[in-house]
């Protein structure tokens, strides 16, 4: 009963957004960590892909763990979108007559682009999965060969530009999202506020930088071995 009441309240919906957001923040940090193995070499990053499939296979079978993670991620993103949609409807309904002109004092570009930025990230996500996981829009996809797939994909400057743009949008979403998540979960307090803002800033800058370093290195021919 209590959980249902929480879901019905605007705060409860935000808690769901915060928890699902937290799952994805954890995921993108790990994903970036895996990507950086590119700089160690083909064996390292290809081995990481294999490790993700063999991890826990004694219990869950080959790729079992990976599918559990995928299931959690897909559920989280669907809930995140559903709550964002419901809250946006409530928010817009609360101001039927708009101001003739607004002058924002503290809202940031990041906080004001959460909704459309989120939509862009979703579109990128679908594209990215088709590109790098399913591989059907990749020019020469090879299963379990991430090193090869990356080098081939990011030789194309258009792909690099699109990817960099998506990572900048992700950074903006993370900057407001991470702090907002901590606020919604009640972690924030007056003395902690500045520190939490710095945590959000660090994640919002380091995660996109880590991701962007890879296609840029490939485009510039750094670390590419034939």
């Amino acid at each position: 009963m209590a959980v249902v009441a929480l879901y019905r309240s605007t705060i409860g919906k935000k808690v769901i957004m915060a928890v699902t957001g937290f799952i994805w923040v954890g995921y993108v940090v790990l994903h970036m960590f895996g990507n950086l193995k590119y700089f160690v070499g083909a064996t390292s990053i290809n081995g990481w892909a294999e490790f993700l499939r063999t991890f826990g296979q004694d219990i869950l079978g080959y790729s079992g763990f990976l599918w559990v993670v995928r299931l959690v991620l897909v559920s989280a993103v669907l809930l995140h979108i559903l709550m964002a949609y419901q809250l946006t409807q409530l928010d817009w309904a609360s101001r039927p007559v708009r101001y003739s002109g607004r002058n924002y004092l503290s809202a940031t570009f990041s906080s004001r682009t959460m909704r459309w930025g989120g939509v862009f990230i979703l579109l990128f996500l679908v594209y990215h999965i088709l590109h790098m996981t399913v591989g059907n829009i990749h020019p020469n996809y090879e299963e379990l060969k991430p090193y090869h797939n990356l080098v081939v994909a990011f030789r194309d400057p258009i792909q690099v530009v699109f990817y960099v743009a998506a990572m900048i949008v992700l950074g903006l979403h993370l900057y407001h999202g991470v702090w907002s998540m901590l606020q919604t979960l009640g972690v924030n307090s007056f003395p902690r506020n500045a520190t939490l803002h710095r945590v959000a800033q660090a994640i919002a800058i380091l995660v996109p930088l880590g991701f962007i370093s890879l296609p840029l290195a490939i485009l510039l021919g750094i670390g590419v071995r034939p």
Binding site: T10, S94, V97, R98, S100, M114, Q183, G186, F190
Partner: protein
């Protein structure tokens, strides 16, 4: 000072409303914003028109009755209530846009006056403590740690003007509700009803049709009582605790 005012005029709640333009050459930098409006109104009355209706009472920044959106910012954006805003913040020859608070739970009654009874109903839902009356209790009978009383007082200074709702891009009443909840939930006298208060006030806030908080911080930027966003984090924390305790 010569000023051009674009003022929202609306006969009643049913009227669609529109902006009308007024000019004055009698404004002075030492006047408060409301004294300037009084002069404009005198001029309108002299010409046989209907003066601009706006809410005001104490005119010294403590009652929370006044409040209009000035050039897109509730209370004009100088950390005060509208009545404590002075004309020295404006330039000679400036055009000033004046609008009422805009939120579905705040219907316009006339011109710049809105009905803020929704905030009162949130208070009725739990913004109080139940205490037995009778002879006065002993002084210092209930000890309150100094940091708690300081924090509670920082939230208790909310005057309920509604600028937070007006400023919020989502028309959310979270800062108001959070300040009221945090004030009482920090004090020993507020503990017996702590979680039911939190759950009931949030439920009433949602029922009134206020939007949700997306943490832009516009509310705290315009709050004349300077209540900060930590109030909202406290409210979130206590609502989560209320849920875990099965109260919500």
């Amino acid at each position: 000072m010569n000023l051009t005012l674009k003022v929202w005029r609306q006969k009643n709640a049913q009227d669609a409303g529109r902006f009308e333009t007024y000019t004055t050459s009698e404004a002075d930098p030492e006047m408060s914003f409301m004294e300037m409006l009084d002069i404009v109104n005198q001029d309108i009355i002299r010409k046989g028109g209907d003066p601009i209706a706006f809410d005001h009472d104490c005119r010294e920044g403590i009652c929370g009755t006044c409040g209009v959106v000035i050039n897109g910012v509730p209370h004009g954006g100088h950390g005060t209530t509208t009545c404590q805003l002075y004309m020295r913040h404006f330039k000679d020859g400036e055009t000033i846009t004046i609008e009422p608070w805009r939120a579905r739970p705040f219907p316009v009654l006339k011109d710049l006056i809105v009905d803020r009874a929704a905030l009162d109903r949130i208070i009725v839902a739990g913004g109080y403590i139940s205490a037995s009356t009778g002879s006065a209790p002993d002084a210092n009978g209930i000890l309150v740690p100094k940091p708690d009383s300081d924090a509670a007082m920082n939230y208790a200074v909310c005057i309920g003007c509604g600028a937070c709702v007006a400023a919020c891009p989502n028309g959310s009443a979270m800062l108001f509700t959070a300040a009221k909840v945090a004030h009482l939930n920090l004090l020993p006298q507020g503990q017996p009803e702590r979680y039911t208060r939190t759950a009931n006030m949030v439920a009433q806030m949602d029922k009134e049709g206020f939007g949700g908080c997306t943490n832009h911080g516009e509310c705290t930027a315009v709050c004349p009582a300077h209540i900060d966003m930590s109030a909202i984090a406290r409210l979130n924390r206590d609502l989560l605790a209320a849920t875990l305790k099965g109260v919500a």
